[in-house]
């Protein structure tokens, strides 16, 4: 089985977020980037599905050379090879177009992504890739089993779960439950440098959106302590200040 895993390179979760160019751009100066945590789940499941010579895992990333360390981490975790489309990931459609253009004649049986990237949280790329490749797309899956040429997927829905059967090839976006993220071992880290990382030139694709402005949420106010027996004051504050009752 040939699996393609899409990965993005996102700011570490502890990053202090700031912006440049009139609040139109994320300020990447001094920021530590990591492999998107949901993509790690997709990668971990892909590796499990192909372990023991049952297939190969290719990771694909749309981004610039500054992402290479993160791509090599994916190789260290256990991907067989990597492809980087040499362009910033401008927006969801542009990114999906790049992945689809690369994947379309490569005969992948399965394409996996994370449910969303933890920077822009758009969750749009997987479905767009599915559409562009003309293959079924299932979002936010919690379990993934392949039975012959059928994928058996589990999704969480309000008050229960949904079991989806879908023929290969298909694309699915992965959430918690699909697999435990894998920690690379020293041998993986050593071999990551010798695994192929090919850089592919960008394909012509329209850019349909532009960012007008980013805003960070207003900082949370200080905690107000109310004495345990002063219920009236608490109710008053919840009514007049917090406006929740």
């Amino acid at each position: 089985m040939k699996i393609l895993v899409c990965m993005s390179n996102v700011p570490d979760t502890t990053t202090k977020i700031t912006f440049t160019s009139d609040h139109k751009q994320f300020n990447a100066a001094g920021v530590q980037f990591i492999l998107n945590p949901y993509d790690e789940l997709a990668l971990a499941r892909a590796i499990e599905l192909t372990e023991g010579g049952k297939g190969t895992v290719t990771v694909i990333h749309v981004g610039e050379a500054s992402s290479d360390p993160t791509i090599r981490k994916a190789l260290a975790i256990g991907a067989d090879d990597a492809v980087r489309i040499d362009s910033p990931a401008i927006d969801a459609f542009f990114t999906a177009s790049q992945v689809a253009a690369y994947a379309k004649d490569k005969g992948f049986d399965l394409v996996l992504t994370g449910r969303e990237s933890i920077d822009h949280n758009g969750a749009q790329v997987p479905a767009m890739i599915g559409e562009l490749l003309g293959i079924p797309s299932v979002s936010i899956i919690k379990k993934l089993v392949i039975d012959g040429t059928t994928g058996i997927l589990e999704r969480e829905i309000e008050g229960g779960k949904e079991i989806v059967h879908v023929p290969l090839p298909f694309i699915a976006s992965c959430a918690e439950g699909v697999a435990e993220p894998k920690i690379p071992n020293m041998r993986g880290i050593m071999s990551a440098r010798t695994k192929p990382l090919s850089v592919v030139t960008v394909t012509e694709a329209p850019v349909l959106t532009s960012i007008e402005k980013y805003e960070t949420p207003v900082p949370r106010g200080a905690v107000k302590m109310v004495a345990a027996d002063d219920v009236a004051k608490l109710v008053g504050l919840l009514h007049t200040e917090a406006k929740v009752i």
Binding site: D12, T14, R72, I183, P184, N185, M186, I189, M190, A192
Partner: protein, 384 residues
């Protein structure tokens, strides 16, 4: 969180290893740290997992089943583990650089083939026994003897303060084959668990490093094959001193990790704790402490990395590794002490991590050569 990510002198491998160890430690070590400490539980299972990740044979070449990395990467491994738990850091250090390192450095090819793959994979846990009840700094005067009898050596004596004395599968034991107090009178042997006459005595109840097992090792007419002699007879003490040159880099890395952990906890707390209407970090008395801690930690790291670099290039490191060990250990103790001070009463309780750093840090100025002994080594080197 990664604090070395923006440093251009840190290689991509070091960074990846740092992240890997942080991931592992936050999932499998951090949640249990206080419980292991309180109950003095030595978590053998963690060392198996560390073995699977390749962290039990960091410096062992791949042909012997190891990871084949150098000292820089090794320092990252030990310091990142120690930032979370000094005990695990100490045990990983003793296994890697003392026991495994001794067989790697002085074993024959056959001996390496026999023991290194098991040690490097974490299938076997290693110990290294030099110290005795009456001979610590003055190890040369050890009382344990090894007497040749046909194709065997018979080992007799008691070793003290041995990390993994009870749980080890194999130990490198220094014993006297010649005159007491003579450098040429000591030899190094490999003793496997299960050998009749080889057993563990009392387990120490320690101030810190409580999840790292430290026990007495008893050699009661313990017969081992002659083939278990490492190098030639009489070379054991010189070998042990060389091993300690490298081992000191790992204790320095251990100290660095503890210092970092204590510093980061104190830094965070100082920004959160308010007194007199402002965060305590706003008081110069506190911020100057933080400035000193940060500066000393940086200096310790530079010393360690300099020693690591020389060690990788097989240059003499006796002076530098002693400096790195001495300085980093003292920094760890000072930093942990100030961290407790910054936490105030909260730092004096087990609800916050700094009291443990404070207890663990103290080992660093004692184990693998006390600070005083490091100064003797440094002075001897600069005066020669």
């Amino acid at each position: 969180m990664i604090d070395i990510g923006q440093d251009p002198t840190v290689s991509e491998n070091e960074l990846m290893i740092t992240q890997m160890v942080q991931d592992f430690a936050s999932r499998y070590i951090r949640p249990h740290v206080m419980e292991w400490d309180e109950t003095q539980h030595f978590p053998l299972e963690v060392f198996k997992q560390l073995g699977e990740l390749g962290l039990m044979g960091v410096l062992v070449p791949e042909e012997y089943g190891g990871s084949g990395f150098g000292y820089q990467e090794y320092v990252r491994v030990i310091s990142e583990i120690s930032k979370v738990c000094g005990s695990i850091g100490l045990s990983v250090a003793a296994h890697n650089s003392l026991c495994t390192g001794h067989i790697l450095g002085f074993g024959s090819h056959d001996q390496k083939i026999k023991w290194l793959p098991k040690l490097a994979s974490g299938a076997w846990l290693g110990a290294w026994a030099l110290t005795e009840a009456n001979t610590g700094s003055d190890a040369l005067r050890m009382a344990t003897t090894a007497v040749q009898d046909g194709d065997e050596y018979v080992l007799s004596g008691t070793k003290n303060w041995i990390t993994h004395g009870k749980s080890c599968d194999v130990a490198v034991v220094m014993a006297r084959t010649g005159e007491k107090g003579q450098s040429g009178g000591v030899s190094a042997f490999v003793v496997e668990k299960g050998t009749p006459g080889f057993s563990a005595g009392k387990k120490e109840n320690k101030l810190g490093m409580r999840a790292s097992e430290t026990t007495e090792v008893i050699l009661d007419n313990c017969r081992i094959p002659k083939a278990n002699l490492l190098g030639a007879e009489g070379e054991g003490f010189k070998q042990a001193m060389k091993i300690l040159d490298g081992g000191r880099i790992s204790i320095a890395a251990l100290a660095l990790g503890i210092a970092r952990g204590a510093f980061e906890a104190a830094l965070k707390y100082s920004k959160e704790r308010h007194q007199f209407g402002q965060p305590i970090s706003g008081f110069q008395g506190i911020s100057f402490k933080l400035a000193d801690m940060a500066t000393e930690i940086e200096a310790a790291e530079l010393l360690i990395m300099q020693a690591a670099d020389k060690k990788n290039r097989h240059e003499p490191v006796t002076k530098l590794s002693a400096m790195a060990k001495y300085y980093s250990s003292e920094v760890a103790v000072r930093t942990a002490n100030e961290a407790v001070q910054i936490f105030g009463a909260y730092g004096y309780t087990k609800d916050f991590p700094v009291e443990k750093y404070y207890r663990d840090a103290k080992l660093c100025t004692i184990g693998e050569g006390t600070s005083e002994i490091q100064k003797i080594v440094i002075a001897r080197e600069i005066l020669k």
